[in-house]
Symmetry: C2
Subunit: 122 residues, 2 copies
């Protein structure tokens, strides 16, 4: 039994945004977290090309539009509270603007910052 998905049932914050986590679909790596508004979420679902909302530029941000590091949507999931999105995606190249595969490359578990991965070759 499947109910039709209604974007208005999601809980967007006061700025009209919802956090979206991108996970590489086959390896399980968590690549990045960014924000979506209604328009970017609709674009992502329609085109299967992941599109965020850039809070700094205040504009739609189709991931990889300039860098070529696009994200193709495989599956989009929402959480129990309907206030967070998890996307399984296929990432081309680096998810991170630092040219690293993912953004979570700094470990701080034991009181020190340790860099886990280096930037990819261009």
């Amino acid at each position: 039994m499947a109910a039709e998905f209604d974007i208005e049932t999601l809980k967007f914050d006061d700025a009209g945004l919802i956090p979206a986590i991108a996970q590489q679909h086959d390896t399980g790596e968590v690549l990045m977290m960014a924000w979506m508004n209604r328009e970017s979420l609709k674009a992502t679902l329609t085109t299967k090309q992941v599109t965020y909302w850039s809070r700094s530029r205040q504009e739609l941000w189709r991931k990889g539009a300039t860098s070529g590091h696009m994200q193709t949507l495989k599956s989009l999931r929402i959480d129990c509270d309907r206030d967070c999105i998890l996307m399984l995606i296929d990432q081309i190249g680096a998810a991170c603007h630092t040219m690293r595969r993912h953004c979570f490359y700094t470990d701080v578990t034991n009181g020190n910052e340790v860099e886990l991965i280096s930037p990819m070759e261009p």
Copy 2:
């Protein structure tokens, strides 16, 4: 070369919070996303028992304190923008308050809501 981690270098939002993603350390499953303030992050790093900030109750929320579904921290990472946390953890039982293993059990990729997993047996 490891620099000492200073919590004040993180970017907390206007409410003093930062999003924290919990990922099962050995399977790679993304279990949930919740929020931390400085105090909960410090408690998490010190005790290795994951502690969030409950926005609804406005109090520290040591995950599993009442349910027994605790999360033991294995590794805590921050992203390039220093405004999001990824934790590799070991989850006892259900991460979700619905008694499901994880919170992202609703798939909406193709226009319909599809429930991916059922609640665990008590």
